[in-house]
Structures are given as C-alpha cells and as structure tokens.
C-alpha cells in the first residue's frame, strides 16, 4: 500500500469516527411522541391559554394612570408591586389597561391622551416579550430550552399582529375613544414616563 492510500484510509477513518460520535438519528414521530422539546407547539399552547388565562390576567391589569402615578411617587415599590422581571436587572414588565382619546394615527402607532399622559399604542412593531412576561403566567424554568420559551412570545405577538391590529387600524381615527389592555416594558434605572409604549392585547373603540 503506498503512502497516499494510507493517508486517505486514515482520513476516512477519522472522519467516520468523528461522524459516528457527532450525530444520532431518530424517527421524528418517535421523538415527538417522547414529548421532547421539538414537540412543543407554541401556537397551540398560546391558543389554549389565550381566552381563559391570558385575557383573564389582563382584565385585572392596573389602570395605566394609577401605575404612572405610583412609578413617579416610588419607583422601587411600584416595580415590586406591579412589575414582573425574568431575572436580576432593571427591566420590568407591567400589565396595564385604560381608556383614552386618539390624538394621532401614525404609521407605526396610535397616540392616546389618557388624562395628562400621552400613551403610544404600538400597531406595527409588535415584538419582544412584554405580553408574555407581564402576564406572569409563563416561567422560563417550566421549559426545557429557551427556544420553546421564546416561541411563546412569537406566537402571542403574531396573534396580535394578525387578529387584533388589522381590524383596529382599519377603523380607528382621530377623536375616537379607545379602551385598551396590554403590557409595557420599563427600565428602573432609566425610567421614561413621558410617552409610554404599550403593546396591546385588546383594543376597543368605545365612542
């Protein structure tokens, strides 16, 4: 056997050994039946909790004007009382509800005058984890991996973008009175209350 043949044989052997120890194969249905992480259907999960759990906790959300007052008076206490946080840090998520007068209908949002406060209801960039995390219903530790956990937010946001926003956008106009429930994200260290951005979960034109 010449040197080249030996070289190639060793190369193939090494690649074979690495390959053997690198991947494993399983029938997909068996994997799904095992209840492994890939079987997690975030859309079905979100559909399941939407009416009976998610909507319920948002119905009990504090009034946004009261929350802003609490935050202005004692930020730390307001974060502890009303906020939800995933871990250590300054970011907190809050459930809110309220009613306001539409003062502007922009491409990306609708501005509401709620008492003396201007609230920005997001209608274009509905992303992030605000709705999921402010609900307090879904905990990271309940999931095998962060991918499943993140997919819950994706499904919630997609549902809002597809089922809630288009109908609202088609009807809303300046001067309307709008009732909303939703979530906000605030940073304890850099609290900005001048124009709060709300990710809505319900929007209703009342007048």
């Amino acid at each position: 056997m010449n040197r080249k043949a030996i070289k190639y044989s060793i190369g193939i052997l090494v690649i074979g050994l690495l390959g053997y120890n690198s991947v494993y194969f399983q029938p997909l249905d068996k994997k799904l039946a095992d209840g492994n992480e890939i079987s997690f259907d975030a859309k079905a999960y979100v559909d399941g909790i939407w009416s009976n759990e998610l909507m319920k906790v948002y119905k009990d959300a504090p009034d946004i004007a009261l929350l802003i007052d609490s935050l202005e008076q004692n930020t730390v206490a307001a974060f502890e009382t009303y906020g939800y946080a995933l871990g250590i840090g300054n970011i907190g998520y809050f459930r809110v509800q309220g009613e306001g007068l539409v003062t502007a209908v922009n491409n990306n949002n609708v501005l509401l005058q709620v008492g003396s406060h201007v609230i920005e209801v997001e209608t274009e960039f509905v992303y992030g984890n605000a709705i999921r995390d402010a609900s307090g219903l879904v905990k990271l530790n309940d999931y095998d991996n962060s991918s499943d956990f993140n997919s819950i937010s994706e499904s919630i946001n997609e549902k809002i973008r597809k089922e809630l926003i288009p109908e609202f956008r088609s009807k809303v106009k300046i001067g309307d009175k709008v009732r909303f429930e939703g979530a906000i994200e605030l940073n304890k260290a850099h609290l900005k209350l001048s124009q709060i951005e709300v990710i809505p979960i319900t929007l209703q034109i009342t007048e």
Binding site: S22, F25, Q26, L28, I38, N145, S146, S147, S153
Partner: protein
C-alpha cells in the same frame, strides 16, 4: 536583555515593555489587579480575542483584512447552540438528527470555515477588495444569525458544553487551554511550514510570489477559511461561557482583533509580523480593558483611551519601519 531583544523584533520588544509598564502602573493604582482571581479573569476574557486575532494576523500578513470575524463568531456560536439544543427535524423523511457536543462544535467550526472560504473565494476569484468582501460577509453573517435565532438567545446548553467556557483543567481555565492550543498551532504553521512561508511571501510581495510559482489564490482562500474557523472557535467559547448564544454576540470584535494585531507589530501592509506579537497585543488590550474597569473609568473614556493606544501603536510601527 540583549539576547531577549535579539529573539523578539523591535515591535514585540516595545509591546512587552508597554505591557510591563501597564501592569506595574495598575498594580500600584488598584488593590485588585495583582490577584490570582483577576489574572485568570483577564486570561479568560482575552482568550476569545486571542483566537480571532490569530486568524486576523494570518489575513493581515497576506496584506488583507477580515471585517466579518465578529459576525461569523456570532453565527457559529448560534449554529452550535441551535444544533445542540434543537437538532434538525426533517418531517418529509420522518427524521430527527440530534447533535452531540462534538457534533455541534464541529458543525460550528465547519460553518465558520465555510463562510471564511466564501470570503477568500470572492477576494481571489472575483477580485473583490478584502475590505468590501468581508464587509458584505459581516452584514450577511449577522443577518444569518438573526434568521437562525429569530432574534432570541438560545440557552440551556448543558454542563458538558458549558465546560468548554467555564471549566478548569489542571488549574487552568479551559478557554485559556483552547486559545493556547490555537496560538501554538499558529506559531508552528507560520514559522515551520511551507504554507506559513507562502503567507509571508504573498504579503511581502504578491507579484514576486506569483512569479515564484506560489499558489496565491489557494493560500489566500485557506487563510480566510482559517480566520473563519478561528472566529468560530471564539464563538463557541463565548457561547459556552455564557451558556447562551446571543444574536448580538461579537459586535465590533473585529476591531479589537485588528487592534491586537496592530499593537503586536504586524504591518497592515502585510508580510511582517508574528503570532507572538499578536498575543502580546491581545494581552495589552485585555489588561487595558481590565485596568480601566478597575479604575472605574467611564466606558465612554475607555473607548477614547483604547483608540489612542491603537493610534500610538501604529505611529510607533511607522517610525520603526522608517528606522529599519
């Protein structure tokens, strides 16, 4: 002193003196700098930059540049984490492909090498300037990372994988072992092999290299592929250390790598420089970062100071070239 000076080139010697003065100053000005914990902390932190900088040195030695290493680092870290965490499902074939730690790491390295190879191919075959080709890859790889991760971190990767970033072996952190292996391999590659001599020759005078029969395109493609693989190593270390692949990982890491290479005395016009010099450069940047944090210097000023150090290094390098 003279024998040390003989062994090291002028730039490395200057880097060594700069490092010594920096360490001495920080030891006098802070209480925590000269502690074992801080030493290993600095070493762990610079491990990632060392890996990327070694790849960048190879590229710069050929008179090129690679701006995509930070993005490749992020993508490869994400690919490794994603495969390890979720595997690949192929519903059409009713097949699930799971990845072991070895498999996920190899896949990450392969992706890094592949993206680096694309850089090299664009530069050599289509004559795209390295700056432009790697700038395009910087954007593409960042986009791939966002697509792969959907903008979310991938975490919960297990203890075995985490050991690569947080474990200790024989009293030394694993990232230091890994970057050490990278450095030794690169020193041998550049100093003891034909491939290494080709790299220096191409950077020194590409036309002369072409006339000498050096396969320039092949060497350059391999160099960029190696830079991609080493960026992937960095990505795997970052991911293992954080137990999470962050979509925005590696942001502006290419600048730290270029800084380490320049401070280490490698000429940006190619053909001159050493791996050892780059390691010194990376250590200087790491110590400087650590020192500025220990001295509670504002992050804004930290950037200004780092920029000034890089500028100073280039000015000194230019004056060295003139005197030579």
């Amino acid at each position: 002193m003279i024998s040390i000076k003989k062994k090291l080139n002028i730039a490395q010697f200057q880097s060594l003196i700069a490092l010594f003065i920096l360490c001495l100053g920080l030891a006098l000005m802070t209480d925590n700098f000269m502690t074992t914990d801080n030493f290993w902390n600095v070493m762990r932190q610079i491990s990632v930059n060392v890996c990327i900088s070694v790849g960048m040195t190879l590229v710069i030695l050929t008179a090129g540049i690679d701006l995509s290493v930070g993005s490749i680092l992020a993508f490869c870290g994400a690919v490794t984490a994603g495969l390890l965490s979720n595997g690949i499902s192929i519903p059409a074939l009713n097949l699930f492909i799971g990845f072991t730690v070895l498999g996920a790491v190899l896949a990450g390295l392969l992706v890094g090498g592949g993206l680096g190879f694309i850089n090299g191919y664009a530069i050599t075959k289509f004559k795209v300037p390295p700056f432009v080709a790697t700038l395009a890859m910087l954007t593409m790889a960042r986009g791939f990372t966002m697509l792969w991760t959907k903008g979310h971190p991938i975490s919960g990767l297990g203890e075995t994988f985490g050991f690569l970033g947080t474990g200790w072996f024989l009293g030394i952190p694993m990232p230091v072992w890994i970057s050490g292996i990278v450095v030794v391999t690169a020193i041998v590659l550049t100093g003891k092999t034909r491939f290494g001599r080709y790299i220096y020759a191409i950077g020194g005078n590409e036309n002369a290299s072409l006339l000498s029969g050096i396969p320039i395109a092949k060497v350059k493609m391999w160099v960029y592929a190696l830079a991609g693989i080493l960026a992937a190593v960095g990505g795997i270390l970052v991911t293992a250390r954080l137990d999470s692949a962050q979509p925005n990982a590696g942001f502006s890491y290419e600048l730290d790598a270029i800084a380490a290479v320049v401070i280490g005395g490698t000429s940006l016009s190619g053909g001159r420089g050493t791996i050892l010099g780059t390691v010194l450069g990376a250590i200087i940047i790491g110590v400087l970062n650590n020192g500025l944090i220990l001295l509670s210097v504002s992050p804004f000023w930290q950037q200004v100071i780092k920029g000034l150090v890089i500028l100073l290094a280039v000015i000194i390098d230019k004056s060295n070239q003139k005197s030579e």
